[in-house]
Each structure stands twice: as structure tokens, then as C-alpha cells.
């Protein structure tokens, strides 16, 4: 029997990674009113750039990661300035498709530079510690409560929480953050009150890309693997988390990320369904929530 506690913990760990992707995506959704399909590739690019700096060039890991986050943020700004700026007044589908184009370009560049062979940071491997062990017999089954953790996974959870907290502080305590919330709520009104919505959009891209970068590096560390499709492969789950939480609400995205990830891990507990249908389980959960609350958990509000 699988331990439910373990499943929950694994869900929280994976959820933290999804969160790092989902919060950024949600921000951009709120400000620009479009789905950024290039988001997954930003995760992938940052994982590879960190690989370049850490493995190929030899910088210490944290330095490589920090530099990468900065570079990816700049890349985000560049994409906004270079391409999305032209489309400020285009419809959301046009913007979505442009980001699909950007995503294809980024992915093919990754493949051209690094080829398709998988890579790894080869960080030191550590065995987890058995924190809890045992089970309570309940009739024919046993309720197991074993729990195995690694410091890696705790760090990822902590990182997710820290970024979520930092985003919250940014949105509520800084001038730019407030401006961002205003723009997301009502763009024209914000422009009237003197907020430079272009700058807001730029900062939103930088923030979104930066969070994506952290997410991408965390993903590569947690799975131990880099490969060109890694961004796209997680994008569907990130979108599901954003929608579950309510488009445009970063807080909803946080909740959505954990729900989706836990649902995936919990698929193993459903007899007859099992791990192979885990993606389907995540979507069923999404559906059920949307049936009950069609605008998502946080209903699209930013507060």
C-alpha cells in the first residue's frame, strides 16, 4: 500500500515547481490578457543556460543560477519589447499565437545549440531520510503513513513558498506592484490615472520570466534531467493550475498548482486507474472545480 502522507508530500514538492511556473504565467495573463505559450520554453532555456554556466563554464551553482535568472528576465523583456509591443492592441488569440511562434523559435534554438541528447547537472545525490514509518491496520487495508524526504525537496518547497511570498509582498507593498494590480483590473483606467502601462507590462514580463527561470532550474534539479522538450511537457499542467486557480489571479495559481500536483500524485491511490492515468486525474479535478465554480477558485480576482 502506498502511504498517503508520502503522496501528499510528493504532491507538495512537485506543486512548488508548478507554482513557480504558474504564478508568472498568471501575472502575464492578468496584465496582457493573453496566454503565454512561450512560458514553458523560458523554463527550458533557463535550465540550459544554467547548465552552460555551471557545467561548461564552471561557475558555482548558485552564481550560475542567479545570473541565469537575470538573463532570462532580460530575455522576457526583450520578447516584450521586440515582439509583443507591436501587439498591444491585438486580440488575445493573436498574442497567443505569436507566443506559440516564439516558443517554437526558442525550442529549436535550444536543440541547435545543445542537441537532443539529455543532460544533467550531476549535483551530488543524497539519500532521503525516513522521517515517518508505519501503518495502521484498518480492516482489509492498512493506512500507511511512511514519509521519506530529501533536503532537495524541502529546498524546492521552501523556494516555492519564498517566491510566492515575495510576489505577494511585491504586489501589495510596492508602488509598481500596486500599479500592476490596477492595470490588470482595468487597463484603460490605469492609463488615465497616469500609470505607464507599457512599463508595467515590461516589468510583468521580467518578473514572469524570472519566476519561470527559477522554476526551470528547480525542475532540472528535482528531476535530475535536462532535455529540449522539458518546458513544453510541463506547460499543460502549469496552464491547468492557472485556470484552476482562476485566470489572472496569482494567488489562485498558487493554490491551483498544489491541487493539480497533489491530484497527479494521488492517482496512484485510485484502484484501476493508477499512475498511467495521472494526467487525466489532474484534468478531472480541473473539470469538477470548473463545473462548480466556472471562473476558477479565486475567480480571477487579484486580492
Amino acid at each position: 500500500m502506498v502511504s498517503i502522507i508520502q503522496v501528499l508530500f510528493d504532491g507538495v514538492v512537485f506543486g512548488s515547481i508548478v507554482l513557480l511556473g504558474a504564478v508568472g504565467l498568471s501575472l502575464l495573463y492578468g496584465i496582457g490578457n493573453f496566454a503565454n505559450f512561450a512560458h514553458g520554453e523560458l523554463l527550458a532555456v533557463s535550465a540550459y543556460v544554467t547548465y552552460l554556466l555551471f557545467v561548461t563554464v564552471g561557475l558555482p551553482f548558485l552564481l550560475a543560477a542567479a545570473v541565469t535568472v537575470g538573463l532570462t528576465a532580460l530575455l522576457g523583456v526583450g520578447i516584450d519589447r521586440g515582439i509583443l509591443q507591436i501587439h498591444r492592441d491585438s486580440g488575445s488569440l493573436t498574442k497567443l499565437l505569436v507566443t506559440v511562434g516564439v516558443a517554437f523559435v526558442l525550442r529549436s534554438l535550444i536543440r541547435i545549440v545543445w542537441a537532443s541528447e539529455p543532460r544533467s547537472y550531476r549535483l551530488p545525490l543524497e539519500q532521503g531520510t525516513q522521517v515517518l514509518e508505519g501503518g495502521i491496520p484498518l480492516g482489509i487495508t492498512t493506512f500507511r503513513y511512511d514519509l521519506f524526504m530529501t533536503t532537495d525537496s524541502l529546498l524546492v518547497v521552501g523556494l516555492g513558498g519564498a517566491c510566492a511570498g515575495a510576489t505577494h509582498l511585491f504586489l501589495t507593498r510596492t508602488k509598481m506592484g500596486v500599479a500592476m494590480r490596477a492595470t490588470a483590473a482595468n487597463r484603460s483606467l490605469s492609463q488615465v490615472t497616469g500609470i505607464d502601462t507599457d512599463v508595467v507590462a515590461r516589468i510583468a514580463w521580467a518578473l514572469s520570466a524570472g519566476l519561470a527561470a527559477i522554476g526551470g532550474i528547480a525542475l532540472a534539479v528535482s528531476s535530475g534531467l535536462l532535455y529540449p522538450r522539458m518546458g513544453f511537457d510541463i506547460l499543460l499542467l502549469v496552464f491547468a493550475a492557472v485556470i484552476l486557480g482562476g485566470i489572472g489571479s496569482p494567488y489562485g495559481a498558487m493554490v491551483g498548482a498544489y491541487v493539480i500536483a497533489i491530484a497527479q500524485e494521488a492517482s496512484v491511490l485510485v484502484p484501476g486507474v493508477g499512475a498511467r492515468y495521472r494526467l487525466a486525474v489532474a484534468f478531472v479535478i480541473l473539470f469538477v472545480v470548473l463545473l462548480v465554480k466556472p471562473t476558477g477558485i479565486a475567480g480571477g480576482s487579484w486580492s
Binding site: 511562434g101 516558443a103 542537441a115
Partner: protein
């Protein structure tokens, strides 16, 4: 062996692929172009078409799902195939049922939610195809009993069937769009609330559009089964949904002729990078340039001509 061979045969196979893409694009165009439905489940219905046709037409003696074994393609006494046999009808029926089931929870959602919901459902369908081996032989894949393969005019026959399908679908769509039903669909795309206010049950119309579009996509799937003769679940991954979307958007949203053109352009776009292999020496660059070119093209087209080649200005980007 074959009557048509050589470069002509290659061109014929490319054209067949293009025609099949056009059929898929016509289906999606009904759903998105005319009704404004953000349907991302194209690949799933494409799969349902291919697999259903293959499943119900297993050779005698092979294990069949539910014991059904319907003949695939009859060739009558004069050697001319009888147009559209039982398998396609069964596939259409199956996809209609699945489309109805999918549309009930999703069509009431707002646009981008619909996209992800349909994408998730499509992935679930693909997982069912992958995991339910008693039905589809799962990951191992399933052979298609295709009586026209190996005959002298195989490629020509396939092309003819594909064109026939295209013509029939197009004729039906043109009629439908010009009818009162079609006008309601356009009304829903422009402003659903207003249409509702006028007393039309928009949900019912959306469902009809979704179901008919999905059936059209399924027909494309049966043609694909005839074209490739061996089906594996990995064939039907979500990237193909994006490609068909690109076909519709490039060709022109809301225009049936645009959808046909888009199908051809898509087939062309996917094949041109092969020729770059001869020009570019670096293997890596050449094989990855396909994606690069498509990406750049999408950006360029959406920036300079977002309504696609033949679309109306009015539908651009909404």
C-alpha cells in the same frame, strides 16, 4: 507494380496529405472560424477516426473489440471502390457521441478555459487509447487492414478518396454556413449574449457546431489510417492540434476556402525544410530548422496579416 511511381507518386502522396489536412482544417474552421469555439481537441478526434476505422475492420480471425468485424472497403465487380463504407460511418458515430459528452461540461466555459479543458480531454482520450490494450493494442500499435495498398492504383485511389471527402465536406459546409443555422453561429461568434437575448439557445447551436466539426475531423482520421497503415498512440500527440490551428489561422479564419488553402500551406511548410537538408551541411541545424521556420512564420504572419491569407479583417485576432 504501381502505375504511378517516381516523383509523380511523391507529389501525389504530398497532395493527399495536404487534402487530409484541409479536411481537418475545415472541421476546426467550423468550430473556431464560424462559431468562435476554442477547440484544442483536434488530435483526439483525428485519433478516434483512425483507430475506430482500424478497430472495426480487423481481418477475419483477428481479435476484434466487442466482436465487431465490419468490412472496410468493398471493391465491386468493375474494380472501382464503393465510396464510403461502414467503417467511416461507425467512426463518425463514435466521435459524435464523444463530442456530445465532451461538450456538455465544456461549452459553457469561457474561451481560454475551453481551450485547456478540450486539450486535457484530448490527452485523456489519447491515454485511453494508449492504455486500453484490449481495445487498441495500446503502445504496441495496430495494423490497418487496407485493401487498396499494393494495388496498382493505390496512391491514386487514396488521393481520389481524399478529394472526394474534401468535396463532400466542403459542399455540406457551404450549404450550412449560408443557412439560417450558419447565421446563428456567426452571431454567436460576434456576440453570444446578444444572440442569446434574441431567443436563440446558443448552447445547442454551439454543441451542434462542435459535434459536426469533430465528425469532419474524424473523417480526416479515417483517411490517415488508409495513408499510413499502422497506428500508434504517439502519432496523435497534441502538437498536431497546434498544426491544424496554424492551418486555419494562416489560411484565413472564418473562410472555408481559407481552411483548404491553410491545409495545403501547412503540408508545404512541414515538408519544405526537408529540402534544406541538401543546402545546409550541419545536420543539427537542418533537422531543427523546420520548427524554427514555422515559428518565425507564425510571428511574421500574425504581425503583418493576422486574419490569415483569405480571412475577413473583422475576425482578426478575437
Amino acid at each position: 507494380m504501381a502505375v504511378v511511381t517516381g516523383p509523380a507518386a511523391f507529389l501525389l502522396s504530398l497532395l493527399t496529405t495536404a487534402v487530409i489536412f484541409s479536411v481537418l482544417a475545415l472541421g476546426l474552421n467550423l468550430q473556431w472560424g464560424y462559431t468562435g469555439l476554442f477547440n484544442f481537441s483536434v488530435a483526439a478526434f483525428w485519433a478516434i477516426g483512425a483507430y475506430t476505422a482500424a478497430i472495426v475492420t480487423r481481418a477475419p480471425g483477428a481479435e476484434t473489440a466487442f466482436g465487431l468485424n465490419l468490412p472496410y472497403l468493398w471493391v465491386d465487380a468493375f474494380g472501382v471502390p464503393v465510396p464510403f463504407p461502414a467503417a467511416v460511418i461507425v467512426a463518425a458515430a463514435v466521435s459524435a457521441v464523444v463530442a456530445v459528452i465532451i461538450s456538455i461540461p465544456t461549452l459553457r466555459l469561457r474561451a481560454d478555459y475551453l481551450a485547456i479543458a478540450t486539450l486535457g480531454l484530448a490527452e485523456t482520450i489519447r491515454l485511453v487509447i494508449l492504455n486500453e490494450r484490449w481495445l487498441t493494442e495500446g503502445g504496441q500499435g495496430m495494423a490497418v487492414q487496407n485493401p487498396i495498398t499494393g494495388t496498382a492504383l493505390a496512391n491514386v485511389t487514396l488521393f481520389a478518396l481524399a478529394v472526394l471527402a474534401l468535396v463532400l465536406v466542403y459542399a455540406v459546409l457551404v450549404r450550412a454556413i449560408d443557412s439560417p443555422w450558419g447565421r446563428v453561429l456567426k452571431g454567436i461568434r460576434e456576440d453570444e449574449d446578444a444572440t442569446n437575448a434574441l431567443g436563440k439557445n446558443t448552447f445547442r447551436f454551439k454543441m451542434q457546431s462542435f459535434v459536426i466539426g469533430s465528425v469532419i475531423i474524424t473523417i480526416g482520421g479515417t483517411l490517415t489510417a488508409l495513408q499510413i497503415n499502422y497506428l500508434v498512440p504517439q502519432q496523435f500527440n497534441p502538437e498536431w492540434t497546434f498544426f491544424v490551428w496554424i492551418a486555419v489561422l494562416l489560411g484565413g479564419t472564418g473562410s472555408n476556402r481559407g481552411a483548404i488553402l491553410g491545409g495545403f500551406v501547412l503540408a508545404f511548410l512541414l515538408e519544405v525544410p526537408r529540402y534544406l537538408n541538401d543546402l545546409i551541411p550541419y545536420g543539427n541545424v537542418a533537422s531543427n530548422s523546420r520548427l524554427l521556420i514555422i515559428g518565425v512564420l507564425i510571428i511574421v504572419i500574425m504581425t503583418f496579416r493576422p486574419q490569415g491569407l483569405l480571412g475577413d479583417e473583422g475576425v482578426a485576432g478575437e
